[in-house]
């Protein structure tokens, strides 16, 4: 609990620091205000931008719904990167695993025609399996041949995106009458129910039950790490694979297991996007989420609660950024800058400590991958 508060404090300080730097960026890019030397106006631009950023992420049902919708895939794919980190691997392939999971869940989504209570869990599970197979390939390659997972997962990302492009052009998937790679819609029974569906008529409330899936996945991740034998082996291998080997653990199998779980989480991210957000699949299904997931995992230091908090933060920034762009002159790109700054400040705890004069000798360092030597 103490560690949690400590890590939260640094995340919070990093957030404040990056908002400060972001304010400077807003001011110096506001040419009119600079020319006229009107700093009162510059200040009000910053204030309004941050106000609508906050309102767009937490103020009202719609904002909260947007934040939840943005958080869902970030959390699941963040777990995919986190569990790989725990096992000592750097999974850059969440994008590819998401695409794989999205396609398998899509296929279940319109290939079967069951009742919703059966159809939805089946499709989510299919997504997890599809992603796990795709992630498992990278794990197997590393265990068998020593091929570094950073290389193989990046390559598998390309393979996945072209595979999806091809699949979406096949008669099995392509929507009738459309020349572009876009899939048939899944049946209404296969859609993840909307969380705020009880508020009739509000179609703009996009949050869906994928968030519940993501929360359950986070709980599972915690249970796996802290309570299970496999989780114990994974952590030991990730922290010191030599000692794990000396202790008789099968470190190569554990690499594959870590990547299977990683792919499973990312596959569920793809599935919830298809089954919840879109209702169909396209090539832009995974977007940048697979890479943002790396930042989520790093910021959350790969811990279950940390990943949850940082996914929520990123989801909120994403939701708020859109409203900031709509209501003020500040472009949504500022969000990318803010996110980069947050990660930078978290990666440089000494800098944040110096800025806020925090007195403490040790900053807990999260578990990340071992590097190229491993």
């Amino acid at each position: 609990m103490k560690d949690l508060l400590k890590s939260l404090r640094y995340t919070l300080l990093a957030l404040v620091a990056s908002l400060l730097v972001g304010a400077i960026i807003i001011v110096i890019t506001d040419v009119d205000a600079l020319k006229s030397g009107d700093f009162g106006k510059a200040f009000s631009t910053v204030f309004n931008a941050y106000k609508s950023l906050f309102q767009g992420s937490f103020w009202g049902v719609r904002s909260i719904s947007n934040t939840i919708a943005g958080t869902t895939p970030l959390l699941l794919s963040g777990l995919a990167v986190s569990i790989a980190f725990k096992g000592g691997l750097f999974n850059i392939g969440a994008t590819g695993q998401m695409l794989a999971g999205g396609m398998t869940s899509l296929w279940v989504g319109f290939a079967f025609d069951g009742p919703g209570w059966l159809q939805v869990p089946l499709a989510v599970a299919a997504g997890a399996i599809g992603g796990a197979i795709f992630g498992g390939i990278a794990g197997l390659l590393k265990a068998r041949t020593g091929a570094h997972e950073v290389i193989t997962t990046i390559m598998l990302n390309s393979i996945a995106s072209f595979l999806v492009l091809w699949l979406l052009k096949t008669t099995l998937f392509q929507r009738e009458g459309r020349p572009d790679p876009i899939s048939k819609p899944i049946s209404e029974a296969s859609r993840l129910p909307r969380l705020f569906g009880f508020l009739d008529g509000r179609v703009d409330l996009v949050a869906h039950a994928g968030f519940i899936v993501a929360l359950l996945a986070t709980l599972f991740y915690w249970w796996l790490l802290k309570r299970t034998t496999v989780g114990f082996e994974l952590r030991a291998t990730g922290l010191n694979s030599d000692a794990a080997k000396y202790a008789g653990m099968k470190t190569k199998s554990l690499m594959v297991i870590a990547m299977l779980f990683a792919g499973g989480f990312a596959g569920m991210a793809g599935a919830t996007e298809v089954l919840g957000t879109y209702g169909y699949a396209s090539t832009s299904l995974a977007g940048n989420i697979g890479f943002d997931a790396i930042a989520v995992a790093l910021l959350g230091q790969s811990s279950p609660i940390g990943t949850l908090v940082s996914a929520l933060l990123f989801g909120a920034l994403q939701a708020g950024g859109r409203s900031m762009q709509a209501n003020t002159d500040v472009p949504v790109d500022l969000i990318i800058v803010l996110r980069a700054l947050i990660v930078m400040f978290v990666a440089a705890p000494l800098l944040v400590k110096a800025m806020f004069r925090v007195k403490s000798q040790v900053v807990s360092q999260g578990q990340t991958f071992r590097g190229w030597g491993g």
Binding site: R227, T229, F232, E233, A243, Y246, G248
Partner: protein
């Protein structure tokens, strides 16, 4: 145009200063005198006082040994002296006037040099390139004047009999020679007082003797030497004065001419210490480990273990002595299932385990204390409890196959922490918070508390404090007396001789002698270790 000229000017100035210092030194024969004093140094870290009102003085022309257990505050004190840490209280005086060091650069310019335990060298650079790193002599336009660098290395090397080739690549050099490169680096920066942090930890016995002669040369040339160590024999051999640190305080001083090892050990630990191992004669039983014609070839194609055969019986300790790098590491890795063998057969308790995995060997009754506790023995980022079950977490007692039974593990961990004297306030703390000796006790507790027939211990007491060494030796003897077979592999000859009932000497992958430690002298074993054979009469004893 302007900047390079300024820089050239600066560099030339540095070289001139360097050259003039060398010049003056060669002329006078010895450096001018200097006295360094630490007064009332206190350095606190959160939750611990690393140095508590420490007073120390050292003058040129003498060797001061600073001894103490791991964690006694030796390194902290030297880092304060070297400007890496700022002391919370106290002051540093040079020739009776107070100085302030805010960085190593300050300490260096005041004439203090430090040779760290882990060398700060660029492996792919030559000796000359490494030595001038940071004070490079340059020609016009900032080009490195490597000839000048070579010449400087040669001069210093000749003056102090260091025998260094300026063009050798550092990564090709043995550890002892790399250490001399570090010494040249320090001398070139005009150090009057040289601090050596555990300099002998990485050296072979013959390199240690060479190191001592270098220290004597330095003293003769008017330098002062601070020798940080926990090896008492070495402190007694080389030092003019010995200061003992215990828990951050100066526990006392000793005169090497009159003091004994036991007296200093008592000062270090705070109580009387058993330096020899107390054991009854062994009563060997049946063969437990039987190794026949074992050969191992490394990936480079070298035969690192060459047709070795030996037997370890229940209730006896067999020691393998040898200089580091003669195949002991590979032998242990093969026996513990981590390395493939090329030919031969291994049986454990009559069962063929030639190709068994580490897990199979664990369950067949092998306890393994690996060579490097931090890299191989422990996951230091995990708790003490987790480390205590690291080799048997899969046992039905701790796992139902899916879930871990953590309450049971915690209960056992508490018992082990108490029974094996592991000093910690809470077994849920990370293993990295423990001192080296206590980390080693975690491994010993984990391996010996299992139901085992054989203990395979590699370097079981390397780099740990006297108290822990004593304790671990006791535990190993106790394990022997309960009928377990023990194989000890250690490069510390004293340890092998003290613990073993039988000694095997390894040289270049072969067992070159089997000796009775009670009937053979250290000197003769040393000769076998170096690949030569003692005279006929000594050989007949074996």
């Amino acid at each position: 145009m302007f900047l390079p000229r300024v820089r050239d000017g600066l560099v030339n100035f540095l070289i001139e200063r360097l050259a003039s210092s060398l010049f003056s030194a060669t002329h006078c024969g010895v450096d001018p005198k200097m006295k360094l004093e630490l007064r009332g140094i206190t350095k606190r870290f959160p939750g611990v006082v690393a140095n508590d009102d420490v007073n120390l003085s050292i003058s040129t022309g003498e060797v001061l040994a600073l001894v103490g257990e791991n964690g006694a505050g030796k390194s902290t004190l030297m880092n304060v002296l070297y400007g890496l840490y700022k002391a919370d209280e106290g002051e540093i005086l040079i020739d009776d006037s107070a100085v302030r060091f805010t960085s190593p650069a300050d300490a260096i310019s005041a004439g203090i040099g430090m040779v760290h335990q882990h060398f700060m060298l660029v492996p792919v650079f030559t000796v000359a390139e490494n030595v001038v790193l940071g004070i490079e002599p340059t020609k016009r336009f900032g080009a490195l004047d490597i000839d000048k660098a070579r010449q400087l290395v040669r001069e210093v090397s000749d003056r102090y009999n260091l025998d260094l080739d300026p063009d050798a690549i550092v990564e090709d050099l043995p550890v002892g020679v790399r250490q001399r490169v570090e010494i040249v680096k320090v001398l070139m920066r005009d150090a009057k007082i040289v601090v050596f942090d555990e300099p002998t930890a990485v050296l072979t016995p013959s390199e240690i003797i060479e190191f001592f002669s270098i220290v004597r040369t330095l003293i003769a040339a008017g330098k002062g030497v601070v020798f940080i160590t926990h090896k008492l024999k070495e402190a007694l051999t080389i030092a003019d004065r010995i200061n003992v640190l215990r828990r951050g305080k100066v526990a006392g001083a000793a005169d090497p001419k009159t003091a004994t090892e036991a007296q200093i050990a008592e000062m270090m630990v705070g109580r009387a210490v058993q330096l020899t191992v107390n054991k009854k004669p062994a009563t060997p039983g049946d063969a437990v480990l039987n190794v026949q014609n074992l050969s191992v070839v490394d990936p480079d194609g070298r035969k690192v273990v060459d047709d070795i055969s030996f037997v370890v019986h229940a209730g006896e300790i067999v020691g393998v002595a040898g200089v580091q790098g003669n195949g002991q590491t590979e032998l242990v890795e093969t026996l513990s299932g981590l390395r493939r063998l090329n030919s031969g057969q291994i049986t454990l308790d009559g069962k063929d385990v030639t190709h068994s995995s580490p897990r199979d060997l664990h369950t067949s009754g092998m306890g393994h204390i690996p060579e490097d506790r931090q890299l191989q023995g422990l996951v230091t980022g995990m708790s003490i409890t987790e480390n205590l079950v690291l080799t048997r977490y899969h046992d039905g007692m701790f796992s139902d196959g899916v879930k871990m039974k953590w309450p049971k593990a915690k209960e056992i961990a508490k018992e082990l922490v108490a029974n094996y004297d592991i000093r910690t306030s809470d077994p849920e703390q990370l293993a990295s918070t423990l001192s080296g000796g206590n980390q080693q006790k975690v491994i010993v507790a984990r391996e010996l508390s299992r139901d085992i027939r054989l203990v395979l211990a590699a370097q079981p007491t390397r780099g740990i404090d006297v108290g822990s060494i004593e304790y671990i030796h006791e535990q190993i003897v106790k394990e022997r007396d309960s009928g377990t077979a023990v194989l000890i592999v250690s490069t510390e000859l004293d340890e092998v001789m003290a613990l073993s009932d039988r000694v095997l000497v390894m040289y270049r992958g072969k067992i070159v002698a089997e000796l009775d430690p009670k009937k053979v002298s250290h000197m003769d074993v040393g000769l076998y270790m170096a690949g030569s054979r003692p005279t006929e009469s000594a050989g007949a004893k074996s």
